[in-house]
Amino acid sequence: MWQQIEESLRESMGRVFTKIATLLPGILAFVLVLIIFLLIAWLAAMLVRWVLMAVKFDERTSSGTSTLTEWTPLHTPTILVTRIVFWSFVTIGVLVGVSTFEAASAESGISAYVFAYVPRVIGAAILLFFGTVIGRFLSRSVLISAVNLNLHYARLLATGVRWLVFVLTAAMVLDHLAIGGGIVDLAFGILFGGIVLALALAVGLGSRDLVSRSLEREAHRPVEAPVEEKLHHF
C-alpha cells in the first residue's frame, strides 16, 4: 500500500518536472525576445526623439489652431510620439514572445487566443485614453464656465461631469474587453438610471418648496441694472 502511494507520488512529481522542463525553453524564449524588443524599442524611441527634435516638431505642432497640446498640455508632442513608438515595439515584442513561447513549448493555441484578444485590448486602451482626456477637458471647461456664471456649485458640477465621463468610459472599456458580459451593461444602466431618478426625486419632491420659494422670489424681485451694465469693458 505504502509502496503504491510512493510510486504514484513519484510519478506525479515526474510529470510536474516534465511539464516545467517543457515550459522552460518557452519561457526563456519569451524573456529573450522581450529583452531584444525592449532594446529595439529604446533605440527606436531615441531615434524618433532625435529626429523630431531636429525638425522642431514641438514648435511646428504648437503653431496650429487646434493642437495635441491643447488636449494633453503636460506632455510635449515629441514625448507623446516617442512613448507611442516605444510601447508599440514593446507590444510587438510581447506578441512575438508569445508566439516563440508557443513554438518552443508543447502548449498550443495560446498565441491564437492572445492574438485574437489583442485588437480588443488596443481598442480598449484607445477608449481609455480618449475617455480620460475628454473627461479632464470637459470637467475643466465646466468648472471655468460655471465659475464665470457665478454658480456656487461649480466644483460639484465639474466633478460630476468628470466622473460621468469616467464611468461611461470604464463601462465602454469593460464591454469592449468582454469582461463582465451583461453585468456591466446592467450595472451601468441601473447606476445611471438611479442617478437620474434620484435627481428627479430630489428636485421634484425634496426641493419642491425650495424651488417654489426661489421662483416666487425671482418673480417679485424688482428689476435692477446689473453691475456689468454700468461697467464697459471695451
Binding site: S62, S63, G64, T65, T67, T69, E70, W71, P73, F137, R140, S141, L143, I144, S145, A146, V147, N148, N150, H152, A154, R155, P226, V227, E228, K230, L231, H232, H233, F234
Partner: protein, 411 residues
C-alpha cells in the same frame, strides 16, 4: 502685394476720375443713404478733394459718382469676406480695416482714413484733424483718444493699452481704435499684415503695433466721440479670449522685437483735452469681489498651473479681504497678466480655458479699481491708469526673464 477684391473695371473708372487723395473707408455696417447724403458735403466743407468713400456692402455694385458730377466724392462698395454675423464685431471691423487698406493700395491713394460704421467720427473738424496730422505733421498713423468716463473701456485701460505701451514703447491710449488715419506707407504695411503665422479667424489688426514695428511716426488726436459698446449679449470670457488672446498672440509673434524695447516714448497728441461732464453711474463692487472669491475658491488648481506660488499666496490673502478693503496692487495685477501671457505662449493649458481662468482675476482688478476711484474725479482716474501703465513698464524685466527662461525656478 496684397490685392483687394476691387474689380479692374471699377479701379480704372476711379483712377480715370483723377488721383485719389483720400480713401475714406467705413469699417462696419453703415446706413448707406446717410453716408451718401452727409459725406460729399462734409468732404467739400473740409476742403478735401479727390476723395473716394469705401463702405461694406453685401453685394452688387453701386454706381460711381452717381449722385452728381459736382459731388466731391465717389463711392465704392467692398465686400467683407468671411464676415459671418456670428463673428465678434471687432473681428469684422478688423477684417474691414485690412480690406480698406488693401483698397487704398489698389487705388494708389495718398491718405487713408478708416471710420467706425456709426459715423460719429464723420465731421469736418475730425476729418481735418486726422488728415492734417498726416499731411502737415508727417504722422504715419493717427489714432483717436476717445471721450470716456471712469468706468468705460476698462479692458483697454487695464490690459490692452498698458501692455502695448510696455511692450512696443509707444504711449497709445487706444491701440485697438475703431477709427484711424494713415499715410501711404502705413496702409501699405497694414494691408500686408498677416501676423507672421496662419490666422484663419479671430485675428485682429493692431495698427499701433505695426507702426511701432516699422518705426513709423504715431500720433493721437483727442476727439469728443464715444462709440457704443458692442458687447451686448457677449460673455466677458469671450471678450477676453478674443481681445486679450489677440494681444498675447501678437506678443508671441513679435517677441524678438519687444524684448529689445526698453522704455516707452510719449506720443504727439493733438486737440484740446476734454472736460469730463459725467463720472458715470456709481458701481457696486461687491458682486465683482464675490466673483473673484468664487474663482479663488474653485480655480486654484488651474491658477497654480499658470501663476507662481507667491502670486497664489497674495491672491489667497486677497480673497479673505472684506469687499470694502479689497485692493489689488498694480504689481500683482501686472505679474498676473505677464504670467498668463507666458502660459498662452507655452500652451500650459488650453487657451480657451486660460482666458476663462483670467476672467475672475480681471473682475477682481475691476472691483479694486472701482472702489479706488469711486470718490475720485475723472482726472484722478486717468492718473490711476497712468500709474498702472508705469507698473507694466516696471514689471517688464520680469516678463522678459520669464519669457526667455520659463523653466527657471520662480518662487
Amino acid at each position: 502685394m496684397p490685392k483687394s477684391d476691387l474689380a479692374d473695371e471699377m479701379k480704372a473708372e476711379v483712377q480715370q476720375a483723377g488721383p485719389v487723395d483720400l480713401l475714406l473707408g467705413i469699417s462696419g455696417p453703415v446706413n448707406v443713404t446717410d453716408l451718401r447724403q452727409q459725406a460729399p458735403s462734409l468732404l467739400e466743407s473740409a476742403g478735401i478733394a479727390g476723395a473716394v468713400i469705401a463702405y461694406p456692402d453685401g453685394g452688387g455694385r453701386e454706381a460711381l459718382n452717381s449722385d452728381s458730377d459736382a459731388s466731391a466724392a465717389g463711392f465704392i462698395p467692398y465686400s467683407l469676406t468671411g464676415s459671418d454675423p456670428a463673428t465678434l464685431p471687432w473681428v469684422i471691423s478688423s477684417v474691414a480695416q485690412k480690406a480698406i487698406c488693401s483698397l487704398a493700395v489698389d487705388l494708389s491713394a495718398k491718405v487713408c482714413v478708416v471710420l467706425h460704421g456709426d459715423l460719429k467720427m464723420l465731421s469736418v473738424e475730425r476729418l481735418q484733424t486726422l488728415t492734417q496730422a498726416i499731411h502737415e505733421k508727417q504722422c504715419d498713423l493717427i489714432l483717436p483718444i476717445y471721450q470716456s468716463r471712469k468706468f468705460d473701456g476698462l479692458l483697454n485701460h487695464s490690459i490692452l493699452a498698458p501692455l502695448a505701451r510696455a511692450l512696443y514703447g509707444q504711449r497709445v491710449r487706444y491701440p485697438l481704435a475703431q477709427d484711424f488715419g494713415c499715410s501711404a506707407r502705413m496702409f501699405q504695411k497694414l494691408s500686408e499684415f498677416t501676423g507672421g503665422r496662419e490666422r484663419s479667424d479671430g485675428s485682429l489688426l493692431w495698427p499701433a503695433t505695426q507702426a511701432a514695428m516699422a518705426s513709423y511716426q504715431v500720433c493721437q488726436a483727442i476727439v469728443d466721440v464715444h462709440h457704443q459698446a458692442q458687447t451686448e449679449g457677449l460673455e466677458l470670457s469671450t471678450i477676453l479670449t478674443s481681445l486679450v488672446g489677440s494681444a498675447f498672440a501678437e506678443m508671441e509673434t513679435y517677441a524678438p522685437y519687444w524684448q529689445r524695447v526698453r522704455n516707452s516714448q510719449p506720443t504727439a497728441t493733438y486737440g484740446k483735452a476734454l472736460q469730463q461732464t459725467s463720472d458715470g453711474d456709481p458701481v457696486d463692487a461687491k458682486p465683482l469681489v464675490e466673483s473673484f472669491v468664487l474663482g479663488s475658491r474653485n480655480l486654484q488648481e488651474i491658477w497654480s498651473l499658470v501663476l507662481p506660488p507667491v502670486t497664489l499666496l497674495e491672491l489667497k490673502k486677497l480673497s479673505r479681504c472684506t469687499p470694502e478693503s479689497f485692493r489689488m496692487p498694480d504689481e500683482l495685477w501686472v505679474r498676473i497678466i505677464y504670467d498668463f501671457a507666458l502660459a498662452y505662449r507655452l500652451r500650459t493649458i488650453n487657451r480657451g480655458h486660460l482666458m476663462g481662468a483670467l476672467t475672475p482675476l480681471y473682475l477682481g482688478w475691476v472691483a479694486s479699481y472701482v472702489q479706488e476711484v469711486a470718490a475720485r474725479s475723472p482726472l484722478a482716474a486717468e492718473q490711476r491708469f497712468e500709474q498702472l501703465a508705469r507698473a507694466y513698464e516696471e514689471g517688464k524685466p520680469y516678463l522678459v526673464s520669464r519669457w526667455r527662461w520659463p523653466d527657471r525656478f520662480n518662487p
